[in-house]
């Protein structure tokens, strides 16, 4: 049975539970024979057993269940009325099912008993012939499991199969001997999640108490107390771990059912689809697993139905006939991301637009203004479906909005991206309720914050006396050169509006958000450790900069920072994204940040940012003359100024824009440094900083210019800073 073992185990456990309920329901039915609800419930249980046994290929089980189901349908629909014969026949059906399940559990096969009399009797009862057939089937048939079992001895399948599986899937810690001997129903226990929550909280309390004991023991000189508290420490940690684990399940529990769903659906609609999975063992909290089960199934069905094209169309488009759906799950930034990616036809925004207008969700004018991303998001609008035909699979427009509502209810988000002809990716981000993540604890403005370790790259500490030189400034935005790369700095105190503290050294936590890095400046770096993520109350979920909260060792609450939200708020992430789009356009060339400014003849010039220490706007009145050189007093030293445009041979006698976009009483100055020497380059109006490949596309046409490159569609001259500086301060670069 291989892969199916886990599923069979689950089926058995579930069926046993349902059958136990059936016993109760039959008793209830005896008291009150006309109760249709009870009959309907019994019917559903038998129906489930039948359906699932068909799936696993347990034919005998299916036959018995089928016969019972037929009778139940008639009872449920009121065609027949329940009598004593029917009641006992149904009870024997339940016993027969139990018998076969018992065989499956012991040996992995159904066993020899096929219950022909019972089936015949059930069929007879269905057709309305009553008692006549009943005496034919007396006691022996009704004898269930114990009788069926001996027939098993013949069966060659080793009896270890199931217990082995069950002990792995369900009760990791169970005694192996018990696992081998006991029945499945005994090894698994359904526990109310609320009980687990309560346990979790109590363990949290225990941990705090333990911490206090440890402190006391540390200060006391009693050796025995120290030993005992050590033991308490270990046991508590282990207990905490186990309790936490009770709530975690791999996402595989949900995914396990999907290959079958995809296969059946693809067959039904004449498509070929392969389902691939990455990150099956990503663990999620039980409650989240439950919550994403249906939305996930729905979205995968959608991908098969709408996403992947029919084989003919795929071949015509030059793709392999077999479509691919990739499920990926991974932890990122304290959240779990689940992606459903297909390589199908993609979503045509024009079609969505047309449909939205047709359905009255949007007016034509509104639609024209919407960016593509928001148009795609329309598929989550209530009552929206673009399927040309309503199939029984999808297309009734009740799907995606429900999906989104369900995901958002647990504090998650759904995002969709699509390229026509290439496929669609749906990204679900869900919080890890109660998940445990390693985190770094920092302090800022007197408060403690936890940062998920997964976002953390490194820590940098800059001593007070070096801050002035190491932290540079690009037009008000502080940056730090981290191994030659500029790292934008974000002050946590400023972002959160906390009081600024005058700390000794500067602590930079280098963080990764998407593909962007930024440095978070905090007052203190305290500790690392595992934290339990608890979601914030619904009232606070709108604050994207927090991923949740956690309880620290001393019992106080600390907020968990959401690095993406934080980066977005401080604009450290958004800008880089644009830069990245450019980067993909001209892939392969290394990029360099470039400072752009206006030149007198209305052109653009650039200086590599690596040659810029700081940007300043100095009042023109502060310029003094020493000999032939203009200087300003700057940070306690004398900074010689070079008017860049005067150093360059001008092409036109009368430049179009002689002041280069700068008002005459302000000087934009680029501070350039070599070793201890500084020089200020007076330039034109600063336009922007961009990332661009420095491969010169045109040679220099005048002195002081290295050459030209194209930046966002405009020819830009790259200033030869060293040549310009040398003409004024010849020994500037001499060491």
């Amino acid at each position: 049975m291989g892969d199916l073992d886990g599923l069979v185990t689950e089926f058995l456990v579930e069926s046993y539970e349902n059958l136990d309920r059936l016993d109760k329901e039959f008793v209830e039915l005896e008291k009150n024979p006309g109760n249709r609800d009870v009959i309907a419930s019994i019917f559903r249980t038998i129906h489930t057993v039948k359906g699932t046994s068909g799936f696993f290929g347990f034919e005998k089980l299916q036959l018995v269940a089928h016969a019972g189901e037929n009778l139940l349908v008639r009872l449920r629909d009121g065609v027949l009325t329940l009598n004593a014969d029917m009641g006992s026949a149904l009870l024997r059906t339940v016993d027969a099912i139990r018998g076969i399940l018992g065989n499956i559990e012991r040996s992995g096969a159904e066993g020899a008993a096929i219950y022909p009399e019972l089936i015949a009797e059930l069929e007879a009862l269905c057709t309305g012939r009553t008692v006549a057939a009943a005496p034919v089937a007396p006691a022996p048939v009704a004898e269930p499991a114990p009788q069926a079992a001996p027939a098993e001895a013949v069966h060659p399948v080793p009896s270890v199969v199931l217990p082995a599986v069950s002990s792995e899937t369900a009760s990791r810690g169970a005694d192996p001997a018990a696992a081998a001997g006991g029945s499945l129903a005994d090894q698994n226990l359904r526990v109310d999640v609320r009980v687990l929550d309560r346990l979790m909280n109590l363990v949290g309390e225990l941990v705090l108490t333990r911490n206090q004991i440890l402190q006391l023991a540390g200060s006391a000189a009693d050796g025995a107390l120290a030993t005992t508290s050590k033991r308490l420490d270990h046991i508590t940690s282990e207990l905490q771990e186990e309790v936490m684990r009770t709530r975690m399940q791999p996402i595989e529990t949900v995914w396990g059912k999907l290959p079958r769903v995809v296969r059946d659906l693809a067959k039904q609609i004449g498509k070929q689809v392969r389902l691939e999975m990455e990150g099956k063992d990503t663990e999620l909290d039980k409650s989240i697993i439950e919550a994403i089960k249906d939305p996930l199934t729905h979205m995968v069905r959608n991908s098969v139905d709408h996403g992947v094209e029919k084989p003919e169309r795929r071949i015509a488009a030059g793709k392999p006939a077999e479509g691919r759906i990739l499920l990926r799950a991974y932890h990122e930034g304290g959240k779990v991301t689940i992606e459903i990616q297909d390589d199908g036809g993609g979503i045509d925004p024009a079609r969505i637009k047309a449909k939205a207008i047709e359905k009255g969700i949007l007016t034509a004018e509104q639609a024209a203004k919407l960016p593509e991303r928001e148009i795609l998001a329309l598929i989550f609008a209530p009552g929206f479906s673009t399927a040309e035909q309503v199939t029984n699979i999808s297309g009734r427009g009740v799907g995606m909005d429900v999906v989104r509502t369900n995901i958002e209810r647990i504090g998650g988000s759904v995002d969709i991206g699509s390229k026509v002809g290439l496929g669609t990716t749906i990204t679900i981000k869900i919080p890890l309720t109660l998940a445990i993540i390693p985190a770094l604890v920092v302090q800022s403005g007197g408060e403690r914050f936890a940062i998920p370790q997964i976002n953390l790259l490194e820590l940098v500490r800059i001593d007070t006396d070096k801050i002035a030189t190491e932290i540079e400034d690009v037009y008000g935005a502080p940056v730090y050169r981290l191994r030659g790369q500029l790292l934008p700095l974000v002050h946590l105190n400023k972002v959160l509006g906390l009081p600024e503290t005058q700390g000794a050294a500067l602590n930079i936590v280098v963080l990764q958000a998407d593909e962007n890095q930024f440095g978070l400046v905090v007052d203190n770096v305290l500790d690392t450790g595992e934290i339990v993520v608890k979601p914030l109350d619904p009232q606070l979920r709108g604050l994207a900069i927090y991923a949740g909260a956690t309880i620290m060792g001393d019992g106080s609450v600390a907020l968990i920072l959401d690095v993406f939200g934080l980066g977005a708020r401080a604009h450290a992430v958004g800008k880089g994204r644009e830069g990245r789009t450019d980067a993909t356009a001209v892939a392969g060339e290394p990029k360099e940040p470039l400072l752009l400014f206006q030149s007198p003849d209305d052109g653009r010039m650039g200086i590599p940012l690596s040659q810029v220490v700081r940007l300043e706007e100095l009042p023109a009145s502060s310029v003094e003359n020493t000999g032939e050189v203009e200087v300003v007093q700057y940070r306690g030293e004398i900074l010689p100024l070079i008017r860049v445009f005067q150093m360059l041979p001008e092409r036109r006698r009368n430049p179009r824009n002689p002041d280069a976009g700068v008002s005459p009483d302000v000087l934009p100055v680029v501070v350039h440094r070599h070793g201890e020497r500084h020089v200020g380059l007076v330039v034109g109006r600063i336009i922007d900083t961009v990332e661009e490949s420095m491969k010169l596309q045109k040679a220099a046409s005048r002195a002081g210019i290295k050459g030209c490159i194209v930046v966002s569609g405009k020819v830009t001259e790259i200033l030869d800073v060293e040549a310009v500086v040398r003409t004024v301060v010849p020994d500037f670069y001499r060491s």
């Binding site: 109350d537 606070l540 604050l543 106080s556 600390a558």
Partner: protein, 154 residues
């Protein structure tokens, strides 16, 4: 007698500025003295912080701010009323910070009236009804509404 017992409801009373307020006692989980809390930067001012309630993190809302009363200035620590509303996935728990806790009293709905129209905007939404007591008036708060805050990520 039975009739009256069925009709009266119990309210947990508390003081906010000079007002006597009440909330349905069934919504009250417990009363706590002032607790240490962690403030939440960037949250609306009504959110005073987060409290660790035996392992559960709950949000503390200052009812003075919520109802638009001036801030406490007598240096006394507010008291927490831990309340819960809703069921299942809609359930919300929060701590309401109030000046001083009072008795639990029985109220006959016949003595309650809808708040007068002259009460201004937002506060009116939060006051379910006004009860006429012998000693004065009591404002019955709509806890569900009081817990709902509008937050945008901007």
């Amino acid at each position: 007698m039975i009739d009256v017992a069925v009709r009266t409801r119990q309210y947990c009373t508390f003081r906010l500025a000079q007002h006597l307020c009440g909330i349905d006692v069934l919504q009250v989980h417990e009363i706590l003295r002032h607790q240490p809390m962690t403030r939440v930067p960037l949250a609306p001012p009504v959110v005073r912080g987060l409290i660790n309630l035996r392992g559960q993190i709950i949000t503390a809302l200052d009812m003075r701010t919520r109802l638009g009363f001036p801030a406490r200035d007598d240096g006394r620590q507010p008291v927490n009323i831990v309340v819960g509303v809703g069921e299942g996935s809609e359930a919300m728990t929060a701590a309401l910070l109030v000046d001083e806790i009072g008795d639990v009293i029985d109220i006959d709905p016949a003595n309650c009236e809808t708040p007068p129209d002259t009460i201004r905007g937002e506060v009116r939404e939060l006051i379910q009804s006004v009860c006429k007591l012998d000693k004065g008036l009591m404002l019955i708060l709509d806890v569900q509404r009081a817990l709902q805050l509008e937050i945008t990520s901007s």
